[in-house]
Amino acid sequence: MTYKKLKRIDLIFHEDCDCSQVLEKTFRKSNDEIINDILESGLKGRGGAGFPTGLKWKFTAEQPSGDRFVICNADEGEPGTFKDREILFKVPSKVFSGMAVCAKVIGAKKGYIYLRGEYRFLLPQLTKALDVFHKEIKDLLDFEIIIQMGSGAYICGEESALFESMEGKRGEPRNKPPYPTVAGFMNKPTVINNVETLVYAFMICKHGPTRFKELGTSDSRGSKVFSVSGDTPIAGIYELELGMSLDHFVEEFGDGDTKAVQVGGAAGFCVPRKKFKDTIIGFEGVPTGGSMKVFNSSRSMYNVLHNYLEFFEEESCGQCTPCRVGCQQLIKGIEAVKKGEQKAAYLDQLMKLSETMKLASKCGLGQSVANSFSSIVDNFREEMIY
């Protein structure tokens, strides 16, 4: 495996861009050409799961005619992730433009931005920017974007729970299949993309796929916006090339005493120091929706895990057994081991439990609790016991 050195990129934030001009140019291409550009670029979803964006658009475009929607998932709820907020704050028109390209390709007349409840403060300026945008594209495309507020539930970032929430129902994930490309919002074919994905899609339209493809690795093309936090002197938002090794990342962002990095937030993986060198940040290694949380040796990994589990225990929608009860058992379990009420070997039982959660939960939330649980318990077992 080749490890890339850390490289800062400046595609998203600092480039001046006349969105309507780019859209006009893009719309001269056929839908197939646009989809091929996106496919060619290798862009994968930036929310964390990493589904190829071009395929998502293609599948939706191929659905029999009728209403369809493009939805921008701005319910950025993963602990330690705050890059979508920055994107919406600084370059909202690029987000809108990405949605417009998608709308054109799939034939949507309406798009929605599902905005995280805690980001309500962005609403006035987003609305203003949207008014401008609607005027600009009036002659280009019959397309309207509506902002729909979330109410603060983490689970509503899961795409099917997000649809339920938008439809006015309780935010609970649906059974899949059917997938959103076939039956999403209002049971119509729907493309749902992360904020950042839509911006990159738009940047690919602007620059062509090659510029994007040149960056990153074969499995993880392009660059990505990272939210860096924790024990780092330079916390903040950085656009970096994908495929870097965690070692290089820590060299740049660590405080010299980094003990572990939580990659991908509460739903992600904890990588201990001894594995920094061999860990690649990307879909072939440890993927992330953007969150990079750095821990130095003053941190108790028991507390870190406890904190994540508290979060999951509360934010599980509660409908499926493995996630609802599993989260409670994991947190009660590590508490009991810590207090000496259960033997250390109980941790092994809990590891089995987390495996069941990974295999049998209904949605990504329950399935990913095991990521942080097993990576922290595996690598810091002694901290769990003593």
Binding site: I155, Q319, C320, Q328, L353, A360, Q367
Partner: protein, 597 residues
């Protein structure tokens, strides 16, 4: 015609229609996959995860109830991964469940207990007991339904039942994560919300979380009380379902054995709600014809049409909450249960020379809403509580078991008199369309002097499981008194399940339909699918019970309510005439508007 899909389950080839699930396919080849949240009558939830299986190529396990089959799919239902996940899930459910089995009303009738007995091998609980950490509550304010959150496994069958089958949505999901629970509007008691007490949630609850309030001990006490004369009435639908709780297959008519059992249990007099079902037809039929005359001839605006049946107390509470502006459209007739209760402590008491003070009136019903109905303040027209205790079919089965009777070996016996005689028109009250059919058999004959023009009196268009059945009956050759109805087309509609009731009422409200007569039963299939009937329930079982009901009707020497000799006698000796003064006093009632929230 749907395409067929070929797949392999545990190495066995199976072919099923496109759109079916892995669970359907597995059942087709008798591979048993355990389920909890799945129920044939409801939409798929896929939330308990007990039915997970391994599909070759899939990253995670899949819920077999929710996963459609696809061509070439390879499924394994019993791998290490599957077994381990399933066992873990059952342990997790148990850790959240108040497994106080020996004290539980549903002991040995609990799907979670069944799974535990199949899968538990170690003798100890794998995970920590979460029950003491939770503030579980028991809601026992309702006279019909008790909701115990500590037994709940959050499968949401009740929520789906209330929403999909009944369009009531009294039950819903509240909170999330570890606090997620099944609750009501503002967490009020079931007694204070839009709940119609239909009990369909009870029929589908896999555990003891939702149960009927039972009066088994109270009834035993009354039976053992020497001073009390305990009369019991049995509703039409009980006789085609009771057997299921006593080891028989669905669809068996057990009227004679049931009567025999009740006598052995110790009731002083075993009588039949079918008698008052016939009486209901006399009263309600007359009421309908009177309303038609008032509306069509006298143009009296107070005569409300369409007239709707009032036998189903779940439907009554539903309309009181949901369409209170239509309360005047309800027939003022009490339900057969309540007519019986009022007569038991008046007519029956007089005839038998018993002080009504000493009569304990018990009813056996396929219903839990009847418990609420018997508790309504209006239901005391005898001067006493007309019906003292309402038992479900299930409670009766329990009493029969407690009495140590070998039900299947009991001889057939017949109802006592008086108030034990009935016609075939009465027994079909137990199935959707039955009241309509019975009413038409009598009303048509009153108006024309001839039998209703259907072969063997079987008005088949109003029968069956279609949710809404619209039937128009043309009236021709009327007797002189009813000449105003000559050539008229009587428009009727029959609906069962409150979702269908709502459809009908919305059509009435919008003016889209101009019915004259509406029959509504709150439960799917009518009373045979009532909330007090043996568990489990599904379409197949309900159809078998329905067939049994019509078999009972066909075998009766008397098929029309007005020909029931005891009915003729009671008008002659006691009531005077249908809808007369005495009837109004004892057999009719009124309703009250209730809030939606």
């Amino acid at each position: 015609m749907a395409n067929n899909i070929n797949l392999k389950i545990d190495g066995v080839d199976v072919q099923v229609e496109e759109g079916r699930t892995i669970l359907d396919a597995a059942r087709a080849i008798n591979v048993h996959i355990p389920t909890l949240c799945y129920h044939e009558d409801l939409c798929v939830a896929g939330n308990c995860r007990v039915c997970v299986v391994e599909v070759t190529g899939a990253r995670a396990l899949v819920a077999s109830c929710a996963m459609p089959v696809s061509e070439g799919m390879e499924v394994e239902t019993n791998t290490l991964k599957v077994r381990s996940a399933r066992k873990n899930i059952i342990e997790l459910l148990l850790s959240e469940h108040n497994a106080d089995c020996t004290n539980c009303y549903k002991n040995k009738q609990c799907e979670l207990q069944d799974l535990a007995s199949e899968y538990k091998t170690s003798g100890e609980q794998l995970y920590m007991d979460l029950v003491p950490l939770k503030n579980y509550t028991i809601d026992d304010f309702s006279p019909s339904i008790i909701k115990d959150d500590s037994k709940c496994i959050r499968c949401q069958r009740c929520v789906r039942t209330c929403e999909e089958l009944q369009h009531v949505s009294a039950l819903g999901v509240a909170y999330k994560g570890d606090k997620m629970k099944i609750s009501t509007f503002f967490e009020n008691s079931m007694f204070d919300v839009v709940c119609t007490n239909c009990g369909q949630c009870i029929n589908r609850c896999p555990t003891g979380s939702l149960i009927e309030r039972n009066y088994v001990d109270e009834v035993w006490d009354a039976i053992y009380d020497e001073k009390k004369h305990v009369v019991v009435q049995t509703a039409p639908a009980t006789r085609v379902a009771l057997g299921e709780d006593l080891g028989l297959e669905p669809g068996q008519v057990v009227t004679g054995k049931m009567v025999s059992a009740l006598k052995r249990v110790g009731f002083d007099s075993v009588l039949d709600t079918d008698f008052t079902a016939d009486l209901t037809i006399m009263e309600e039929g007359t009421e309908l014809l009177t309303r038609l005359k008032k509306a069509l001839v006298d143009k009296d605006p107070t005569a409300k049409l369409p007239m709707a049946t009032s036998c189903s107390p779940g439907w009554i509470k539903f309309i009181e909450h949901t369409f209170p502006e239509y309360l005047d459209n309800l027939s003022t007739c009490k339900s057969p249960q309540q007519m019986f209760g009022a007569l038991a402590k008046t007519y029956y008491a007089q005839k038998r020379g018993i002080d009504p003070e000493n009569i304990v009136s018990v009813s056996i019903m396929p219903c839990v809403a009847k418990k609420f109905e018997a508790d309504r303040p209006e239901m005391r027209s005898s001067g006493y509580k007309d019906v003292d205790y309402v038992l479900t079919t299930r409670e009766m089965a329990r009493m029969i078991r407690q009495a140590g009777l070998d039900f299947n070996a009991l001889p057939e016996d017949s109802y006592d008199s008086i108030m034990g005689e009935s016609s075939g028109a009465a027994v079909i009250f137990g199935a959707t369309g039955g009241v309509m059919e019975a009413a038409l058999r009598t009303a048509y004959e009153i108006v024309t002097g001839r039998e209703v023009p259907f072969e063997n009196l079987n008005i088949t268009p109003v029968r069956g499981m279609d949710g809404v059945k619209e039937v128009t009956v043309k009236i021709e050759g009327t007797l002189p008194d009813w000449s105003f109805l000559e050539g008229a087309e009587l428009k009727t509609v029959t609906a069962h399940g409150l979702t269908n009731a709502k459809l009908v009422m919305e059509k009435v409200k919008s003016g889209e339909a101009d019915y004259h007569f509406i029959e509504i039963m709150a439960c799917p299939g009518g009373c045979i699918g009532g909330g007090g009937q043996p568990i489990p329930t599904n379409m197949e079982i309900r159809k078998k019970r329905t067939e049994a009901i019509y078999m009972e009707d066909a075998g009766k020497p008397i098929r029309k309510s007005h020909e029931n000799p005891e009915v003729v006698a009671i008008y002659k000796e006691f009531l005077g005439e249908p809808c007369g003064h005495k009837s109004h006093e004892l057999l009719h009632t009124h309703y009250k508007a209730r809030h939606r929230y």
